[in-house]
């Protein structure tokens, strides 16, 4: 019995260590996603916490890391949709714009308030799609899985979003950085 208990404790420790490493790699980006989609950092804190609690009780540990991360984004997306529906009375744009005004100057000079406002003016789901595709690099299929949509629909939505957003960036005089 003692041997079995030792084995179980060891397995628990390995799982806990694996989760801690996964948490350290995933939590900042997931918080960023929640923050930019809902526009409220306190709500993003709550959503990240709840996401990982649900993740721990539902994830299959044998899954590779990328699908597990996508699973965490899926939980967060559902929580975001629920919260945005619940708090629709509060204008997210107002919250975000106020935060943008109050925030200290970013080290990223290209992110002028006008361009930030451009992103904030999008609907929450459009912000989520742009973030997942272009900030996190998820494919159409992965985004479709996260949002419970068809991959073909995601492709069309992303095409339209990207085209209009790129046109607005160009109109604002934004030029991508030259990178090696």
């Amino acid at each position: 019995m003692g041997f079995v208990r030792q084995l179980n404790e060891r397995a628990d420790r390995i799982r806990d260590d694996a989760f801690e490493a996964f948490y350290a790699r995933t939590a900042p980006a997931l918080w960023g996603y929640a923050r930019r989609v809902c526009g409220d950092s306190a709500l993003a804190d709550d959503i990240v916490q709840e996401t990982f609690l649900r993740y721990l009780n539902n994830v299959r540990p044998e899954m590779p890391e990328r699908p597990r991360r996508a699973f965490a984004y899926k939980i967060a997306s559902r929580l975001l949709v629920d919260n945005i529906r619940r708090h629709k009375a509060v204008s997210l744009e107002t919250v975000e714009e106020q935060a943008a005004r109050d925030a200290p100057l970013s080290a990223h000079e290209a992110l002028s308030p006008d361009l930030k406002r451009l992103f904030v003016s999008l609907k929450p789901r459009d912000r989520a799609l742009l973030w997942l595709a272009y900030a996190e690099g998820y494919s159409h299929v992965e985004i479709a899985e996260i949002y419970g949509l068809r991959a073909a629909s995601v492709k069309v939505m992303l095409f339209r979003l990207r085209r209009s957003f790129a046109a607005r960036l160009r109109d604002s005089g934004y030029r991508p950085e030259e990178r090696p």
Partner: protein, 175 residues
Amino acid sequence: MTDPICTCALEERVRAALAQGGLEPELRAHAAGCSVCRDVVAVSDWMRQLRNATLEEYAAGARIPDAGVILERARSRRIPRGIDAPEILKPLRIYRRIALPAGLGAGIVVAVLNASSIKALLLSLPGLRTLISGLGSRPPGMSPASFGLFMMLAGLGLLSILVMAAATGIKQTQR
């Protein structure tokens, strides 16, 4: 009319490479001449900068608990294995199903077994005998048709009260 969707076979590769940090020379040369990939580069670049700025904000002030706290909370939320809630609630469900019929049946049996005592008790109550004998007889001055209608309405009223009482009782039992 909806706009045609322009795609590029390398779009996903360009997007994935930008998410990883940068474009290989071959993809960069392609993106320079492809309008779809040029848009992908512009949007990706801007989004990556927004992501970096957001991560700075995270490092400066996000308030999320440590992984250990999350693990503890997740464990305390879990339903202990080995406890089968439906199995535990089975006697309660059976009781709910049989409570009303069993109660009614027992009441009828008791009433039948003690019919004579109940009848004697009821008849001994002052005024009840007069009321019962008066129920069947038509008051003076009332036509037979009016009396019939009055009795029918009274019967329906009594029946509806009994039905309402039974329905309320059943609903409360099922809750």
